[in-house]
Amino acid sequence: MKILVCISNVPDTTTKIKLVNNNSGYDKTGVQWIINPWDELALTRALLLKEEQGSPITEISVINVGTKDTEPTLRKALAVGADDAIRVDAEAKDAYYVAAQIAEVVKNNGYDIVLCGIESSDYNGSAVGGMLSELLDVPSVSSVSGLFIEDGKVKLNREIDGGTQVLATETPFVAIVQKGIALDPRIPAMRGIMMARKKPLVVLPPADIEALTEYIDYEMPQAKSACKMIDEDNAGDMIRLLHEEAKAI
């Protein structure tokens, strides 16, 4: 079985967003770029699955649609244990563009399981995994918090609105994973960093695909008005204020 993990390259989640150039973009100076946290958890789960005794997983690949600047995140994925990496050499225009590029690669390479994070921490799209599965006409299981392989069969835990499901699926399929799929992401060891030097990182030209949407400009949330303070000893007043003034209770 082969697993493909889709990797998005995003600003560190503690980055403060400052808009520049008439709000047409955000300030990227000094920004630290990381593997999208959910994608990193997906990769961690893939590695754990491969390391299980008698695991049917033979190979873990990672893929990113991006310019050369995103290669450090792919090499980090290799350093923590992915076997090979693919970069589709193009600016990620929108979710559809990215999904369609990845779909081309999947069609040519035949992966059994494709993993995506539930969203990227930059544009919060939550879209690539679902689009990819539709383009490939394969099942998708979204908001997955558990992924297991038992006797060659895939079993998933999934969060739905109002509960959870345990389900089985045919392969190939796309799993869109969220919190719970793995605990902490892996930290690369020196040996892994050394080995990453020798692992393949294939650069592919992009397929001819048109994006469906584009980002025009940004807008900062409005500053909140000052916080109304209530005395600790009259805390009950808070409830009355929320009822009478804020009309929230």
């Binding site: 539930i118 930059d122 869109i176 949407t213 807008e219 303070m229």
Partner: protein, 320 residues
């Protein structure tokens, strides 16, 4: 032409988000002159279906199928409804269901997708929608270049508007493809208020001190009919289950009222709650960053404040 709304129901009743989505669709339809068509999948009674008319729908497509959520099957039903009603815009919620279906529908129809929308389109030509980005730290305006569009809307983004509307109900016998996933087990959180649907959320942080101190918080939540939540350190410590973790890497919520009790307000936590209408903070540190984003605050000890909240909330409920 029409605007199609994918409604959601829970135990035979429409969720509040369905009315929000219809109100949102009605505003769009008013501009474009289209009609609003609601798609209902599941076992919902006629009276309940008729309710949708009060929020702007002029037609309901009722699909009696109530199989467990399979992304491919549900996507297929929505796509058939789009074709039948000549819909140009599909609206759904930005919850787990919407995240599961919207991208598939978008790719199937080759319709430009805006997820996490927070407002009605800023303009129709070009078609521009404001959406959340960087988990609420900023917004971005997205231009959709395709004739068909799919929008998923964040909860509590628009006011629910009632309009008296004549409504026709049509049973829709969509063709169901064979599901490739099979659900073995379902656990429904019945009898509990869902975090992502909740109007009010009471959330505890490290300031709660230990797992044993949650009883008053739960009592307070119950009186208000609120869901309970927590910050990341709390779920990491195992004081509360992981599904209660609210924040950038946990659940993103946007209730009407959010109580941050003993939560200092790390940037990752704020990112997950910044969509809340009213934020109440209780923290013993007056300089805690949470007060910068709160609407109401108390500098003090949660253990001292909560019992007063409970008494006042009981009084309020008794009088109403």
């Amino acid at each position: 032409m029409s605007v199609l709304v994918y409604t959601e129901n829970w135990e035979g009743k429409f969720k509040k988000l369905s009315f929000e989505l219809l109100s949102y669709a009605s505003e769009i339809a008013a501009q474009s002159g289209d009609q609003v068509v609601a798609l209902s999948i599941g076992k919902v009674g006629e009276n309940e279906l008729n309710l949708l008319g009060n929020y702007g729908a002029s037609k309901v497509l009722a699909v009696g199928y109530d199989g467990e959520l399979d992304n491919q099957v549900y996507t297929s039903i929505i796509a058939q409804a789009v074709e039948k009603e000549d819909a140009t815009i599909v609206i759904m919620s930005d919850n787990f269901t919407g995240k599961a279906l919207a991208p598939r529908v978008s790719a199937k129809l080759k319709a430009g997708l805006v997820t996490g929308a927070v407002a009605v389109p800023a303009s129709f030509d070009p078609f521009v929608v404001k959406k959340k980005a960087f988990t609420g730290k900023t917004f971005v305006h997205v231009k959709v270049n395709t004739a068909k569009k799919v929008i998923s809307l964040i909860g509590n983004s628009v006011e629910i508007k009632e309009t008296a509307n004549a409504i026709s109900i049509e049973k829709f016998g969509a063709t169901l493809p064979e599901a490739k996933t099979s659900v073995k087990e379902v656990n429904r959180l019945t009898g509990r208020i869902l975090l992502t649907d909740a109007e009010i959320i009471v959330s505890g942080g490290r300031g709660m001190k230990s797992a044993d101190n949650w009883a008053p918080l739960e009592e307070f939540a119950e009186i208000l009919g609120a869901a309970t939540a927590c910050s990341r350190p709390v779920s990491d410590e195992g004081w509360r289950p992981h599904h209660e973790h609210v924040g950038q890497t946990g659940k993103i919520v946007a209730p009407n009222l959010y109580f941050a009790l003993g939560i200092s307000g790390a940037i990752q936590h704020i990112a997950g709650v910044s969509g809340s209408k009213i934020l109440v903070a209780v923290n013993k540190d007056k300089d805690a960053p949470v007060f910068e984003v709160a609407d109401y605050g108390i500098v003090g000890d949660v253990q001292k404040v909560l019992p007063q909240f409970i008494t006042a909330a009981k009084e309020l409920k008794a009088n109403s």
